[in-house]
Symmetry: C2
Subunit: 320 residues, 2 copies
């Protein structure tokens, strides 16, 4: 089978002919039609993940064909039985096990779900990891409800856009941040109430203008995190699933306890959350935002686009 392979850290990805996975009890081989990129894939190519092995096939997101039917893949393995947190054995497709950027991927048979009918195979491929991560952050952790006001930081990223779409779907008032003006404009066209450029933000005015936020979904952390605490409403919930701006500094405990704020770290999601997310997307007929579709042969361009943060939505790879 044709596969996109990371021969070694720091090298360009290469398409190689690899053996199809040998049949294995309890597992199925899905014929992949499309995959999608996550930041994780880029970071693995840079050596920023433990357990990288030569010739690993990357890719956590994928959709394809099994027994003649279109399916979507839950990338989880071994979440474990604690809904609060993944087990020590938890991993997802694409490292250490081979992932979806190949004509075939082997997964446990209970990880394969019928593709939601309203989605194309590319849209289905864009959904799994980002959708699950956003679902857990927004609903399981923050308990978002209709009518609440939500802020999504760094709109344009995969998880951020799913959080955005899911929040709009339940009837929340959704605002966004970005460092890029046109991304804010695009979000407003998609139903955002408004946005703020975090590079030149007057947070105090923003808090007043908007009325403050009940739920904030962040992926940056860093020095700016305290601004989010300040514009959180009393009883507010802040969840971060990333920390691209590094350590959070100068958190004022008095503001946090007086406002009764909850701050959650969240990553990925359980199998139950994956199923719930698929049902939610089905019920609300949500279509993932696709930034661009690349052929597998052009995968290195796709990776560069993500690395530069140029995308608005998921970057999809056409695999088979």
């Amino acid at each position: 089978m044709k596969a996109l392979v990371l021969e070694d850290v720091g090298q360009a990805l290469r398409i190689k002919e690899m053996d199809s996975p040998a049949e294995k009890e309890g597992y199925v081989n899905v014929r992949i039609k499309a995959g999608a990129l996550n930041h994780r894939d880029v970071w693995i190519t840079k050596g920023m993940y433990p357990g990288i092995r030569p010739n690993v096939i990357l890719g956590s997101d994928g959709a394809g064909i099994l027994d003649g039917r279109e399916v979507i893949i839950n990338p989880n393995h071994d979440w474990g039985d604690n809904p609060r947190v993944q087990s020590k054995d938890y991993h997802i497709l694409g490292l250490p096990t081979n992932g979806t950027f190949a004509e075939e991927v082997q997964v446990r048979s209970d990880k394969v779900f019928p593709k939601p009918r309203h989605l194309s195979i590319e849209h289905a491929a864009a959904l799994p990891l980002g959708g699950m991560t956003a679902y857990r952050a927004l609903f399981t952790k923050c308990g978002l409800r209709k009518g609440e006001r939500v802020l999504i930081s760094g709109v344009g990223g995969g998880v951020a856009l799913f959080a955005f779409q899911f929040a709009v779907a339940v009837g929340a008032e959704v605002w966004v941040t970005s460092g890029t003006e046109w991304k804010i404009e695009k979000a407003i066209k998609m139903g955002a109430a408004g946005g703020i450029n975090y590079k030149n933000a007057d947070w105090k005015s923003f808090g007043k203008e908007t009325g403050g936020f009940d739920v904030i979904i962040d992926s940056a952390g860093g020095d700016g995190f305290m601004n989010l605490v300040k514009i959180a409403n009393p009883g507010g919930r802040i969840c971060f699933y990333g920390g691209t701006r590094g350590n959070i500094t100068s958190l004022n405990p008095q503001i946090i306890f007086w406002k009764q704020l909850s701050i959650f770290g969240s990553t990925m999601g359980s199998d139950e959350e994956f199923r719930d997310m698929i049902d939610f997307v089905d019920e609300h007929q949500i279509s993932p935002i696709i930034d661009s579709v690349y052929n597998l042969e052009d995968a290195n361009d796709a990776f560069k686009r993500m690395e530069k943060g140029l995308q608005f939505g998921k970057i999809v790879l056409n695999v088979g």
Copy 2:
């Protein structure tokens, strides 16, 4: 009536003869037998609270007599209808309204509860604010369950000791921190599994020795908060109700989201939590730890003791 009065910020408290509160529809006058100190009372005397007015009678904790029966007082006013957070109108006895350090206090009639039978009037007076704050932090926020491992920072303080006793009562394994060795020893005699002096702590070893913590109750914040994050178990919950060490610095988001940690700020408690706490104390026959009992005439000594942090348990004032 005799009352302990703060004539002005920075002055010693004085006992003065004041008018008893005039009768008012929906309110009752409780004849106070004992009150208890909270840090809040000390900070008010230093001018560290907004809304301080001349000749205010301090005191949030109290127990006494109403219609010939011994009662305990819920210090809350106007929590509001959102269990997550107090309303803007929320306040507690002892500022701006006159408090419990007087022979009579006026409270809304629904704020008075029968004293749990197993408690003396001094023990009942020690319970309200600290018990309610600990209950909310430990159960409502952190969802502590039997068999979990808990760390209580700054044992010796009122809230910390209630959290300690409540956690022991539900069958948790409880560890403590303090800057004072004898306080750790005392906690161990009371059923703590062990403790660590935060002034010379090897947190890494402590984390290994104990196996890490599912729930951490903190009142310090500051530079040391990241140590608590490090020794929190995956799925762990950390709640702080104070920030005596100032701003929390250098929080690593990756550790927090990978361990799926929840960090809560919490203060006081709702009327429902007050009732639940009283029921809990009744059911588990918990007696508040009393550090010392002062006569109202010696209240300034009592305040000094709390200010210096010498106490282990609640400092009670004998009022009437």
